[in-house]
Amino acid sequence: MTTLTLAKALNEGLRAAMDADSKVLVMGEDVGKLGGVFRVTDGLQKDFGEDRVIDTPLAESGIIGTAIGLALRGYRPVCEIQFDGFVFPAADQIITQLAKMPLRSLGKIKLPVVVRIPFGGGIGAVEHHSESPEAYFTHTAGLRVVACSNPVDAYTMIQDAVRCDDPVVFFEPKRRYWDKADVEFGAPGLPLDRARVVREGDDVTLVAYGPMVKTCLEAAAAAEEDGRSIGVVDLRSLNPLDMPVVREAVERTGRCVVVHEAPIFSGLGGEIAARVTEQCFYRLEAPVLRVGGFSTPYPPSRLEDHYLPDLDRILEAVDRVFGY
């Protein structure tokens, strides 16, 4: 067991993936000498060389487009998008090419490309550095979309994402990069497409992913003092959704609140709410509620605490779900 930050756990996971398979490449802006702006790729270029850890020109479309070419040639590129708000120049390559090319080849082509994206707010950043663009990608067939929430999962999930033969959009909760946990090297994790119950509860189930898992756990701990038993499910996989795990947790409580930083409107919470309603209808005591961002662009940092779901917002929704 070693105590690692989430960023370092990703780093160790990438290192293990590169050790295991010489076809694994890391590419992106500032991933080499600097080790990425969050140091997730720290030291990898030194140890694996410039051919495997590539500082690319400053062009996101180029990063993903060339990663596709490398994948066609048998490589497994792990691409870093520096911040969530900068994935959009690459959206064309991701949506029109990466997601669809394998199907067009009737399965002859595999594109094991990982697109790593630090996402979410809470770090006091300027515009375009705090976005939660996951729904754009979960809405795109052909992509697997995952989000880690803690160092232990980060370590295994990044390795599983690299091993996966499908393109994986891998969201990293940037405000949790410095959170620490004990990680066991070499230990296998839960499969990439599985959700995890991170806290059992009898009264209401919170469903979250990425940075909001920790916030939900804190809310659950606070609610316990008031005698409320709240369960928390960490989705981990956003496409596909692990509905059996969600269903079982919600059937136990009869109440469900979905929490994400992204705007509620047209967000992933809507999909989850619809599915929970369809699958747990007769067990539900109340409609599925959603807590999330507003239908505004991410606000300037002095307002982000008002925008981001916090304990109060979550517990207020918990109160409401009991009001039905």
Partner: protein, 360 residues
């Protein structure tokens, strides 16, 4: 364009030692008053920048992107603009903002996280900062196409970095400008670095040479020479206004500070490089020129320093006094027209906040 001998690769009119030099294609005739005023701008923008860095260190700004070392490129090009010209900045053009008359407090507001910009782009013909690398180059070309269609006597200038030249948007902007003969000046500040990546990661040829492939002229200017930056940009803007299309100006300079206050350049570049560029300081050479030619005395320099200190002090006080926006402000200006969803969310949010007031 059939000069028997090629002009020097770098247009320079004032050496680092403060000597005036001639260039066959560019010259500039500046009065003593004009030179003193350029000097003043250089000193004042550096002071604004220093104050902002200090404010960030003290936790008053979330971030700051320093222009240290790039003052001449920004003041020279900024002062070349007429009121009718339109400038499109990145996030580092504090010196250009200054020349356009934008209150530096607005820049601090953005980096403090009070708003995403907030100045009126039309008031000073200085567009909002653009953080997404390269996007603004296309906007500037579109704006220039508008100028063209209006038959107006104006041009646009768009700022971007060496790293930005790799972006698709920037290359598309070059194509558009060329095909439509748009009145735009592409002003690339090659400060040698894109965060940790040196220029070799973006280009195998000098950046100004890229222009010829797109079908318009490219010029490399000493970006630490305010005279040359002014002369070259003025000529390029005039050319654009006269209907002769775009020009790429590569201002060859150096990012003396970190990429932003979040960055640690010791991880990727050597101190020697910095030392070499210190000798090419954009302000020292103007000072030396003014001194040597007895165009200014110590009293003048002292006066400018005092003015700079006062500016810094004043800016600091006004920055600290910047009120945080009202929570509801995040719902403002998202749409120009009434919007049902937003109205509903604003209403819910207001009720939610009011609930806390009752509880206290």
């Amino acid at each position: 364009m059939t000069a028997p001998t090629a002009p020097p690769e770098l247009v320079q009119l004032l050496t680092p030692e403060g000597e005036r030099v001639e260039h066959p294609d560019y010259d500039i005739d500046l009065t003593a008053e004009e030179i003193r005023s350029l000097y003043r701008d250089l000193v004042l923008v550096r002071r604004v920048d220093l104050e902002a860095v200090a404010l960030q260190r003290q936790g008053e700004l979330g971030l700051w992107a320093s222009l240290l070392g790039q003052e001449a490129a920004q003041v020279g090009s900024g002062r070349a603009l007429t009121d009718a010209d339109m400038a499109f900045p990145t996030y580092r053009e504090h010196g250009v903002a200054w020349c356009r008359g934008v209150d530096p407090l607005h820049l601090l507001g953005l980096f403090r996280g009070v708003n995403h910009g907030g100045w009126d782009p039309y008031e000073h013909n200085f567009h909002l900062y653009t953080i997404v690398i390269g996007s603004q180059t296309l906007h500037s070309v579109g704006y220039a196409m508008g100028i063209q269609r209006d038959g107006a006597e104006a041009a646009t200038i768009v700022y971007f970095g060496d790293g930005a030249t790799s972006q698709g948007d920037v290359n598309e902007a070059f194509i558009w400008a060329s095909v439509f003969n748009a009145p735009v000046v592409f002003f690339c500040q090659n400060n040698q670095w894109a965060i940790s990546e040196p220029l070799e990661k973006q280009s195998k040829i000098p950046l100004y040479k890229r222009a010829s492939g797109f079908g318009f002229p490219g010029i490399r200017v000493d970006g630490n020479d305010v005279f040359a930056c002014l002369a070259v940009t003025r000529a390029a803007l005039r050319n654009a206004r006269e209907g002769n299309g775009p020009t790429l100006v590569e201002a060859f300079t150096y990012r003396m500070g970190a990429h932003t206050t979040s960055d640690d350049p010791t991880r990727y570049r050597v101190a020697d490089e910095l030392e070499a560029w210190k000798l090419k300081d954009p302000i020292e050479r103007v000072k030396a020129y003014l001194f040597k030619n007895q165009l200014a005395d110590q009293e003048f320099f002292d006066k400018i320093d005092a003015e700079a200190d006062q500016l810094g002090k004043d800016l600091r006080a006004r920055c600290l006094a910047l009120p945080d926006p009202e929570p509801g402000a995040m719902f403002d200006h998202v749409y120009a027209e009434p919007h049902a969803l937003l109205a509903e969310e604003r209403e819910q949010f207001t009720t939610y906040l009011a609930g806390f007031e009752g509880a206290q």
